[in-house]
Amino acid sequence: MGLTRDHALELLHQMVRIRRLEEKAAELYSAGKIRGFLHLYIGEEAVAVGAMSALRPDEAVVATYREHGHALVRGLSATAVLAEMYGKVSGCSRGRGGSMHFFCPEARFYGGNAIVGGGFPLAVGLALADKMQGRRRVTACFFGDGATDEGEFCESMNLAALWKLPVLFLCENNQYSMGTALARHAADVELTHRPMAFGIPAEKVDGMDVVAVERAVRYEAESVREQGTPRFLEMVTYRYRAHSMYDAELYRDKAEVAEWKERDPIALFVARATEAELIEDADVDAIEQEVAAEVARAVEEAEAAEWETLEDLTRNVVAREVP
């Protein structure tokens, strides 16, 4: 498989962290501890894990409302993330944003954007700032297949290509824009054709294969750094859960979901890594235990954390009303 045992363990560890933390989040949602929207990433773990491990710590990341996994792999603690879902002050956004709005400037994690397409121009601007300040680094922009239908996608690609900006467009094609299947929302389901129309090189990779994703993103990111120009990568994946928490899933049949579950990114990787004798069952158990402990701790800490006081309601709207 072309990877070390340590790295294989790391990839698996991260995928399991996402899976278990989100399973817990779903439980907590049903228990009323987490409210509002909760968009789970379960099934798509290989995408965030593979991509993030190919990015440098100082490279900016712009994500969507389905960003729990990205944030975790990017280095935000399970506690910071879970506390945010609770809405506690110890959350990664002081509880103000909730599940859809994780932020962490230290990790250069710029949200957590819940307006579909709203993150595209931000990524272009972050890359522009790097270019103007002479920094050679990537700005990674994650988004879904549905987002490619928003006008801002084309406007942003044109701008990034015209100004030669180091943006890496990372499309998480999970086959659906909420309840609308790709073929019912995109006139040409070959999404790579869109960036190409703006002169942006575009590739496609199996998003259920964490190793393939990492390899592809590493190549794309390196090219962006070297040439300083934008690139596009489509990662073909699938969402196992509802779009948000409540969703009758009238728009797809069980058979389709079952089919994709046979290519579960975690199971797939475990099988291959085991076959390649990189890991053993014991490793998986150890990881599961470690993650279970981490998640349990995160829940405890989130439970114990403070709520922001009502006196602070209008805090952080602007720095100062009148300078």
């Binding site: 409210r35 509002g36 929207f37 809405g87 506690k88 509880g95 103000r96 944003g97 909730g98 859809m100 709005h101 954007n113 819940a114 307006i115 579909v116 397409g117 709203g118 549905g146 987002a147 239908d149 928003e150 006008g151 824009s177 909420m178 309840g179 609308t180 299947a181 019912r184 929302h185 995109a186 969703d247 009758a248 009238l250 728009y251 709520w307 922001e308 009502l310 309601l313 209008t314 709207v317």
Partner: protein, 327 residues
């Protein structure tokens, strides 16, 4: 006469219009297979087919503008913008096309489109998903704006909006979709353009609409406990505004509280205050009070969100202040 939910009322009215008039069709994000983000259009695709119930890509400006174009072409489109938050992406089409075409063409063309959107906060969906922009739409010449605060109005306003030869924006309140109420399809009236007194009173006028109507009625009950008889006026039509009805209730009670979920500065309540000042200045015995949304991007945690929005207690307190202050 039967009871139905606010959601069912909107659906029933759309179904009736879709059945009665072949020019009517529904389009929007996930209105078909998914059944609507708030299940409002559930079942319509199965009943009417994909030609009449159209799932659109995520392209607010594109499909809302297409609705406007289809209206120019002789159709009677119902365009569902999932929530008012996303309507910022198609505001240009609504303001610069829907609202201006009749005028710019010297009256030669008109745009009979009904644009429905869910509005309001209260579901802990945070800043980007909790706006109320009724005040903005209500300030655009060329548009008509309705806000449904009752189950019957949810039904009647869909039909009235489709009857109108001009673009109508109908605001449905997200947190009211599950509200049950009486629905009389036979007694349905297209006169949704006048305000209605929802509760008679003599001590103070509570003026509101849409999302805040149930909260305001609760506030009136709280006041009743203290022997204060509040009149509750439901504006219903936000453009045009029923100034006479506003003057009538203020002239009766001489005190007013405007309740409105838009951000306080520039709120729709501000316009109501201005009209009271212009048309009923000498009737006022106390300053008009506004209970609006606190000026903060809506925070996710429940206790902070509740504190940011109008609540029965805040409304009742404001009403009492108007009574404490001498004329």
């Amino acid at each position: 006469m039967s009871t139905a939910s606010y959601r069912e009322a909107v659906r029933a009215a759309m179904r009736k219009a879709l059945r009665d008039d072949p020019r009517v069709f529904l389009m929007g994000e996930d209105v078909g297979r998914y059944g609507g983000a708030f299940a409002v259009s559930k079942g319509l695709l199965e009943e009417l087919g994909p030609d009449r119930i159209r799932d659109t890509p995520l392209s607010e400006s594109g499909f809302v503008g297409a609705g406007i174009g289809a209206a120019l072409g002789g159709m009677r489109p119902i365009v569902e913008v999932m929530t008012v938050n996303f309507s910022l992406l198609c505001l240009d089409q609504i303001v610069n096309n829907a609202a201006t075409l009749r005028h710019m063409s010297g009256g030669q063309v008109n745009v009979p489109v009904l644009i429905r959107m869910a509005t309001g906060a209260g579901k802990q969906v945070a800043a980007q998903h909790s706006h109320s922009f009724e005040n903005w739409y209500a300030s655009v010449p060329g548009l008509k704006v309705l806000a449904a605060g009752t189950v019957q109005d949810a039904y009647d306003m869909v039909l009235a909006g489709l009857e109108d030869p001009d673009p109508v924006v109908l605001f449905e309140t997200m947190v009211l979709y599950n509200m049950e109420g009486e629905l009389d399809e036979e007694a349905s009236s297209l006169d949704v353009w006048h305000a209605r007194v929802r509760r008679e009173g003599s001590d103070v006028s509570l003026i509101t609409y849409g999302s805040s109507l149930p909260k305001t009625l609760k506030a009136a009950e709280l006041l009743a406990i203290d022997g204060i008889v509040a009149e509750v006026l439901d504006l219903r039509s936000l453009r045009p505004l029923d100034t006479e009805a506003i003057v009538r209730t203020v002239s009766k009670t001489h005190r007013a509280v405007i309740v409105d979920e838009t951000y306080r500065s520039g709120s729709l309540a501000a316009e109501v205050c201005a009209r009271i000042g212009e048309n009923a200045f000498y009737e006022l015995d106390a300053p008009v009070e506004r209970v609006c949304t606190v000026e903060v991007p809506i925070p996710y945690p429940k206790h902070l969100e509740d504190a940011a929005l109008p609540q029965p207690e805040r409304i009742a307190e404001a009403a009492k202040r108007t009574l404490q202050r001498g004329g």
